[in-house]
């Protein structure tokens, strides 16, 4: 129907896609984080492997996974398309531009930060999901695929550790802007609640990314 495509191809429509998919991806981050926190459990990966097995084979999760893929797909495509469109709308650049005096660098660098996260995502999927899905992974005592072993192995490599930490810093800044921005785009700005949304977004970005970043560091220093 034309009104739907017209809506979502408009500048605000595109932003609505960005914000809805962005918030959805935030919820994914929470789920992913909660599951992965089991890596810190001192049981040689028993719990983590069981969780991983569940996530890899439960039909509901596998269905939702496609929604997640779509969410990523839309967010990435729309984000890059918007960045290109916006760059074109500016046309030429100022000879002297002190935009840093009126806005935050990470707000202006969402495409760059997002691209770093995207690069990380590819490496990350190759490291873990690729192995689990397409290769023969040894099984643990409970017969679950030893995802934990993959983690231990991967984070012996300092290159990966650095990449993962850098990516989490990028994600953190991406979220610092993105979280509250999503609410603004959806029109949810109110002098009573917006300060709370901003505080929540700040806490969310720091805590989630710090915990994710702690994983490779922990394994590199304590488990290798």
């Amino acid at each position: 129907m034309s009104w739907i495509s017209n809506t979502f191809s408009s500048s605000i429509g595109r932003k609505i896609i960005m914000s809805v998919t962005g918030l959805f991806l935030c919820s994914f981050l929470v789920v992913h984080l909660v599951g992965n926190l089991q890596l810190f459990k001192d049981d040689n990966g028993v719990a983590f492997n069981a969780y991983s097995e569940f996530m890899g084979h439960n039909p509901i999760i596998r269905t939702i996974e496609w929604v997640l893929v779509l969410g990523f797909g839309f967010h990435i495509y729309q984000g890059l398309a918007l960045a290109a469109k916006n760059r074109a709308a500016r046309g030429s650049n100022y000879v002297s531009d002190h935009i840093e005096q009126n806005s935050k660098w990470y707000s202006r660098s969402m495409a760059l930060l997002g691209s770093i996260v995207l690069f990380f995502l590819v490496v990350h999927l190759y490291n873990f999901l690729g192995s689990l899905r397409f290769m023969d992974v040894p099984r643990d005592a409970n017969g679950n695929e030893d995802a934990y072993g993959l983690v231990v192995q991967a984070f012996r490599n300092p290159f990966y550790v650095v990449l993962y930490v850098v990516a989490q810093v990028a994600l953190c800044y991406h979220l610092l802007h993105g979280f509250q921005s999503a609410f603004q785009t959806l029109g949810l700005n109110h002098r009573k609640y917006t300060p709370a949304i901003k505080a929540l977004g700040f806490g969310f970005s720091i805590i989630v990314c710090a915990l994710f970043a702690a994983m490779p560091v922990y394994f590199f220093f304590f488990k290798s």
């Binding site: 129907m1 034309s2 009104w3 017209n6 809506t7 408009s10 500048s11 605000i12 429509g13 595109r14 932003k15 609505i16 918007l82 469109k85 916006n86 760059r87 074109a88 709308a89 500016r90 046309g91 030429s92 650049n93 100022y94 000879v95 002297s96 531009d97 002190h98 935009i99 005096q101 009126n102 806005s103 935050k104 707000s107 202006r108 969402m110 802007h177 509250q180 921005s181 603004q184 785009t185 959806l186 029109g187 949810l188 700005n189 002098r191």
Partner: protein, 261 residues
């Protein structure tokens, strides 16, 4: 005659001014020196000095838009030292005074840059895109005559005040100029929220926001990524809250209007 501060010393400045013959021509920075600039001069008066100088020498003065010189008509539009309307907060170019600069300073002056604002000449740009956006729906459709008594519809003071605040937009385009994406959302949102807040605007609110956003996109402005430069540089302090209202209005209109395109 001395000004308010008789001790203020005149300044000598270097100006780097964007010169461009016309829309099609390629522009570039040209350097000029101005001498004995009083700190009490307005920025535009300093440019007047430069222009009189150029004219006397047989050169072409720098074209720039200005009119009321009291910060309300929205004509003046200079990008000064990397900032829309220069370094002072809440100030149009014409209200910027030279006491904000120091002797020996180099000042870079450029036109607004956005595809939707082509350069006419030098520092003058074409902002008619804004007019076309208003023409797309920035009004209440009432013909002259036949309006009910002004007190017929009571409007809570708080609502009237908020509508007024949105309505104070002077249409200068600093929001577009300072936005990395050349987005016109702050401008459009100011009009949309003014009329969305008031009961008079209610009748046409859905069509209004749909048509104005469509026109905004057609003009080639970028999309808002909530960076906030626009509101930070807006000389009359139009708030980002308006953009949220615009987004909300748009979403609600698209979801509930009977418009199938």
């Amino acid at each position: 005659m001395a000004g308010s501060n008789p001790n203020a010393k005149p300044m000598n400045l270097t100006l780097k001014v964007w010169r461009q013959k016309n829309r099609a021509a390629k522009g570039g920075i040209v350097e000029y020196k101005v001498k004995d600039i009083s700190p009490d001069m307005s920025f535009l008066e300093m440019l007047d000095v430069l222009n009189e100088d150029l004219l006397r020498k047989g050169d072409e003065p720098v074209a720039f838009d200005h009119d009321c010189r009291e910060g309300i008509c929205g004509s003046c539009n200079l990008f000064i030292n990397g900032r829309a309307h220069g370094p002072e907060k809440g100030t149009t170019t014409c209200q910027l005074h030279m006491r904000k600069f120091s002797d020996g300073d180099t000042i870079t002056i450029e036109p607004w840059r956005a595809n939707a604002f082509p350069v006419n000449k030098d520092l003058s740009v074409d902002r008619s895109a804004f007019d076309r956006i208003i023409q797309a729906g920035g009004y209440v459709s009432v013909n002259t005559g036949g309006a009910p008594d002004g007190n017929e519809i009571p409007i809570p003071k708080e609502i009237a005040d908020r509508a007024f605040e949105a309505a104070t937009c002077i249409g200068c385009g600093a929001c577009v100029a300072s936005c990395k994406n050349a987005s016109a959302m702050l401008f459009v949102s100011a009009k949309v929220s003014q009329l969305a807040l008031l009961p008079q605007g209610n009748v046409e609110r859905k069509a209004r926001v749909e048509n104005m956003v469509a026109q905004m996109d057609k003009e080639g402005f970028g999309a808002c990524t909530n960076i906030g430069s626009c509101a930070a540089e807006c000389p009359v302090g139009i708030s980002l809250e308006n953009i949220a209202i615009l987004n909300r209005e748009f979403l609600a209109a698209k979801a509930t209007s009977n418009n199938l395109v």
